[in-house]
């Protein structure tokens, strides 16, 4: 059992989808953790965590006034809700996957 600190210890998330892209909302519980979260969710770390070969397609938008982030991971839904045959075609469970990203590395 890993005891490493994860994003889920300091932030909450909800996943949406658009075509074949996963759109992930992410916000720290405490505004004071905004910079820490921002530093962790680089395109490179996200590409590794979501096993995407090309990090340049990943978009991370910070909404400073709301202390929140919008993350877009393209081509991670096996073709999207109307094409995918996986157990979760919408990728709704990817919010949980995002929050398992380890903070300290």
């Amino acid at each position: 059992m890993s005891t490493a600190r994860t994003l889920g210890d300091i932030a909450h998330a909800r996943a949406g989808d658009k075509g074949d892209s996963s759109i992930l909302f992410l916000a720290p519980y405490a505004p004071s953790d905004f910079a820490l979260v921002r530093a962790v969710i680089t395109a490179e770390r996200l590409a590794e965590h979501f096993e995407v070969s090309d990090a340049t397609g990943i978009t991370v938008r910070a909404v400073e006034e709301l202390c929140a982030f919008s993350i877009v991971i393209p081509h991670r839904l096996d073709g999207g809700v109307t094409r995918s045959t996986t157990a979760d075609p919408h990728g709704k469970t990817l919010s949980g996957h995002l929050l398992s990203l380890e903070l300290d590395r």
Partner: protein
């Protein structure tokens, strides 16, 4: 016999405020929270969002083949529990449950109202069906280099996302119930607000503020603690009794969000924030048919009475083109599963998958790479994830296939089932399914090419 909860009432809206509630956040949503909100909410309007992207194509197909209604008939159950309270106090109702047949849904609603002894003017909004109006050779499929012409043999439906305009027109003409098909979700909420306050559709700032109200309410329970709860930091009180939200909207478009006193769930800055931004790739440019909205300066303030104030949506232009959702015949999907437990269960499930793949190639002469393999309990929701814990105490092998060849779909089911007596030890609980599927692709259409129509009955 179950004990009904005591009826719960919200206080009346303050003078000058328009109170709008939500009766469904998706086609399969609960009915009891809507019934309670309709009875005790003191609402001026209630909107029912019941139309997923794929639903309209499925409904179109059912209607054409005569195999079912062209609209979501669950709306009649929703209406029977809510209309008596709503119409009795003069509230108006909007829904997109008309799907592929708003006229048919309006006729069924007319019959329901007669049974319930209700007097209502019912409007059907049509014109979103643009299958006959689009130029296939010029309509590029978004995200590809193909046009609709390239998949012309498989087209089932094409529906433009229309805005609030025709719904407002219907309300201005005196409709009590407006039944649309493919309109934007937010339009269901924008229309009653614009009708009440006299906002014009070319007042983009007003459209942006009204759309924010719609955007926050359109998923119903997702604003009030649904799809939010977790153990630990996100505990939600009495989620089984989740209350649907309402908004008191002022003439300047600012709004206060609440739910019925005594209902379960939670409404706070975090639930509002999740609903505001999830599903939006660019928070500074969220496109709807009525307005492109900048949500980046939205303000959220928790009040001492438990309600939440939200305002600050701004217009960032208006799209010249409307998005069109195109239904495409997409063959069959077969899913077959078998479970294994105890020591080495994952290894046995992997062996089972290998057996099916080998037989797929050597006995059936088909390409085994067409088969998708996942392990429920390990990686079924994310087959690409390589760091999964591969030592659960039990696992379900899940094999799936998308194909235009129905016999191949059936063969996958038969092969997984035959693992009972021909595969690794201890396999159990086989389930199989084959379903015909409809894909959705998107294209764009000029706003001027979409002619909407309101039919009043």
């Amino acid at each position: 016999m179950s004990t009904a909860p005591p009826q719960r009432h919200a206080g009346p809206a303050s003078p000058g405020m328009f109170r709008i509630g939500v009766g469904a956040g998706f086609a399969g949503d609960r009915m009891q929270p809507a019934d309670e909100l309709a009875r005790g909410g003191g609402l001026h309007a209630m909107a029912f969002e019941c139309l997923a992207e794929r639903t309209i194509g499925v409904a179109q197909q059912a209607r054409r083949e005569g195999t079912g209604a062209g609209f979501d008939s669950r709306i009649l159950r929703r209406f029977s529990g809510t209309l008596p309270a709503l119409l009795g106090t003069g509230a108006v109702v909007t829904t997109n449950a008309g799907a592929a047949d708003p006229i048919g849904a309006a006729a069924a609603t007319r019959e329901l109202c007669e049974c319930l002894g209700l007097d209502a003017r019912i409007a059907a909004v049509t014109g979103d069906d643009v299958l006959g109006a689009i130029d296939l050779t010029q309509s590029r499929i978004l995200g590809t280099d193909d046009t609709l012409w390239d998949i012309r043999d498989r087209l089932v439906s094409a529906n433009a996302y229309i805005g609030a305009g025709p719904l407002i027109e219907a309300l201005d003409d005196g409709a009590d119930i407006v039944i649309a098909g493919r309109c934007s979700d937010a339009a269901l909420f924008v229309a009653p607000l614009a009708h009440h306050f006299g906002w014009q559709t070319d007042d983009l700032e007003a459209m942006a503020r009204a759309s924010l109200v719609g955007h926050l309410l359109e998923c119903a329970g997702q604003l009030t603690g649904g799809y939010f709860a977790d153990t630990g930091r996100k505990r939600v009180d009495r989620l089984w009794d989740l209350g649907f939200p309402l908004a008191d909207v002022a003439a300047d478009g600012s709004a206060t969000y609440a739910k019925l006193p005594g209902t379960g769930g939670v409404l706070d800055r975090r639930t509002v924030l999740e609903q505001l931004l999830y599903e939006i790739d660019d928070p500074a440019a969220y496109r709807t048919p009525d307005v492109t909205i900048d949500f980046s300066r939205v303000r959220i303030r928790e009040r001492e009475d438990g309600a939440v104030d939200v305002d600050g949506a701004r217009a960032a232009g208006r799209p010249e083109q409307l998005k069109v959702s195109v239904g495409v015949r997409d063959g069959y999907v077969a899913v077959a599963e078998i479970a294994y437990s105890g020591q080495g269960c994952v290894a046995r499930a992997e062996l089972a998958a290998d057996i099916v793949r080998e037989r797929w190639e050597h006995v059936h002469g088909m390409d085994p790479d067409a088969l998708s393999v996942g392990y429920i309990g390990v990686d079924a929701t994310r087959p690409w994830w390589r760091n999964a814990d591969r030592h659960p105490s039990e696992v379900r092998l899940r094999m799936s296939l998308r194909t235009f060849d129905r016999p191949a779909a059936v063969t996958l089911c038969e092969e997984v089932e035959s693992l009972y007596t021909n595969g690794p030890f201890g396999g159990g609980g086989v389930t199989t399914s084959v379903r015909e599927t409809l894909g959705i692709v998107s294209t764009m259409i000029d706003r001027s090419a979409v002619q909407t129509k309101v039919t009043m009955s």
